[in-house]
């Protein structure tokens, strides 16, 4: 085993979520894998020519095609009768997954390629400067869904990507968080070991885009889980099989107040009502996923 499969020296921000998730995922899956990454922060910060942070074979092609590129790698590998222990992994951001990469990931999962797709969800387009994505949560202020005199920010709920991937017939879909690395490593390994297209949707608090202190990435991640805004579960063949319990859920304010993107909820008139709506989402999660 090499010392580190994801090396330091990259140009990610202090407290970067992508770096943590990539490191944990590779630690879980091991060195016998080939990684595809679509365009985004992770690609930019880890491969400024001639440097690379990747101690595993890694390819970046375009923004919207990681599912297809991984399909092609897996197909080629199997067609050429290479050893079948090699894992084919995508590590992608939310924009490259739930928005522009949707066609490609849908095709890859429908075709049943033996790939493991990790979406690092930092809930906006961070590489281009914090624009709204289909994964941006309700009321988050981004540079293209800013809070203002007549707006509380993003008006729409997150796209439910794990459900969409489960609906493709994926044998294994899980949510995870960088704040729970052992859980993430375990799920990554499990996903990679299961044959067929598997999907992990990982919560990825972004210090720059969400506006919190660079020392608080893990704290913010934990609070998302502890407030039930980020339910942690596993789905096997479409059925929920495991849930991480949240015994005494904290109020969502504790998660929201640490982040600049929700600051307007605490300063603007009517913010209280909006926070109540967000609390309703947490309450729904508690009930729907049986978190207590």
């Amino acid at each position: 085993m090499k010392e580190s499969l994801f090396c330091s020296g990259h140009s990610g921000c202090p407290g970067c979520c992508d770096a943590m998730i990539s490191k944990f995922v590779l630690r879980g899956i091991g060195e016998n894998c080939i990684v595809s990454t679509p365009t985004g922060c992770l690609e930019v910060m880890t491969t400024p020519y001639p440097d690379s942070s990747w101690n595993v074979p890694w390819i970046h092609s375009l923004f919207e095609n990681a599912g297809a590129v991984a399909s092609g790698i897996e197909s080629a590998w199997k067609a050429m009768n290479k050893d079948d222990d090699t894992k084919f992994v995508v590590i992608a951001g939310d924009g490259g997954t739930v928005d522009i990469g949707m066609r490609s990931i849908s095709g890859a999962f429908e075709r049943g390629h033996d790939i493991t797709y990790i979406c690092m969800d930092n809930e906006a387009y961070m590489n281009t400067g914090v624009q709204r994505s289909g994964a941006t949560p309700y009321d988050a202020s981004t540079t293209t869904s800013p809070a203002g005199k007549e707006s509380f920010g993003n008006e729409l709920p997150k796209k439910n990507m794990p459900e969409i991937m489960a609906a493709h017939g994926s044998p294994y879909v899980a949510t995870a968080s960088l704040a729970y690395p052992k859980d993430l490593m375990k799920k990554a390994k499990k996903a990679a070991d299961i044959e067929g297209p598997t999907y992990i949707h990982a919560h990825a608090p972004c210090t720059t885009g969400w506006g919190f202190d660079t020392s608080k990435t893990v704290e913010v991640g934990k609070l998302a889980v502890q407030t039930a805004l980020w339910p942690m579960y596993e789905m096997e063949n479409g059925e929920i099989t495991q849930v991480r319990k949240v015994k005494n859920p904290k109020p969502v304010e504790e998660y929201l107040k640490l982040q600049r993107r929700f600051k307007h909820l605490f300063t603007k008139e009517g913010g209280d009502e909006e926070i109540k709506k967000i609390q309703e989402t947490a309450n729904f999660n508690i009930k729907h996923f049986g978190l207590q």
């Binding site: 060195e31 016998n32 894998c33 080939i34 595809s36 690609e43 930019v44 491969t47 400024p48 020519y49 001639p50 690379s52 990747w54 101690n55 595993v56 074979p57 890694w58 390819i59 970046h60 092609s61 375009l62 919207e64 095609n65 599912g67 297809a68 590129v69 991984a70 399909s71 092609g72 790698i73 897996e74 197909s75 080629a76 590998w77 199997k78 067609a79 050429m80 009768n81 090699t86 066609r103 490609s104 849908s106 095709g107 429908e110 075709r111």
Partner: protein, 404 residues
Amino acid sequence: MVELRNITKDMMTVVEGSYAVAHATKVCKPNVISAYPITPQTHIVEELSQFIADGEIENCDYINVESEFSALSTLVGSSATGARTYSSTTSQGLALMHEVLFNASGMRLPIVVTVVNRALSAPINIWNDQQDSVSERDSGWIQLYAEDVQEAADMVAQAYKVGEDPDVMLPVMVCMDGFLLSHVYEPVVLLEEDLIDDYLLPFDPKYKLDPKDPKTFGAFAPPASYTEFRYAQEQAMSAALDKIEKAADDFYDVFGRYYGGLIDEYKTDDADIIIMAKGSIIGTIRDVIDNLRENGVKVGLLKVRALRPFPKDAIKEVVKDSSVVITLDKNISPGVNEGALCTETKACMYNSDINVPVIGYMIGLGGRDIPEDTIENIVDEAKEVINSGISTESQFTDLREDLI
């Protein structure tokens, strides 16, 4: 000159153009084929899927993708893994691949794609012209154009030979005219399975995705290094000039069939008038030249096989002693009022000692028929240019005044 050595009737089979191309692809032993249907290329991937269903291509995976964008994207992954790869497409499908085209060539992945040439929408039109591939001539792909079915099929092998050469490592488009070649039945020699190993080595790239030797593909190149990647691509294109000639020569040595290298010539030695074109129109031009020669018109053909790399020196050598050059283009750059051969032929003669007038014609757009008369009329206009200079540098052909 086209040369066919010891080809006898009993070696030939009458097949559809698409079948001949699919068969040649099978003989080249690809490891991954991606497929997405679009008229008029669909028959090629259908035939390939039948070969797969019948177990006739070993060590090959056939992927029915969900778009042309993914058709090429899958091959980017496969080729980087060290697989020989193939797909075919046309028109809107090629346009949808646009972003991936630049990516594949920039990563130096020798993917081969047959482009069954078709017009671009709007207005939507499924018939042949060459706007689709010509519009992608800056994408960093080698572009070869076939005159007939036999050449389109054999060109697949030549494409792998050139693209996979360690000095080249570039993707290749093999262009054949939609319907006119893809859907016609012609007697052809199906690419010989027992000879292919004498021509094509297994694909074994120096760099590939492999956990035993981890490499980073598709890195981010800042201003300090991006230019040099582009320069390296141009060097590879430049190297491809000789490799295309050699691939054609070697093909003749092994298979006994030759269609020209970068270009081909027909009756150009004493020609005052030289007609330049590419694709299936070449057959019509040959007939027109034979007819006109009987009437003493000194006219010859310069068939362009390679649009990229553009064979500037070869073209200049052929046209330098002529009196006028006619370019026939099944494409146009709106706003320039010229097709690609017209613009680029003029450009390669500028700054040289050659001072031959060039007149261009946009012809056969959207599948408009090209009768011999039309080309004969163009030759008549070229004669006028010799006598009294250029009156119209470039123009549409056979415009219907009733529709304008």
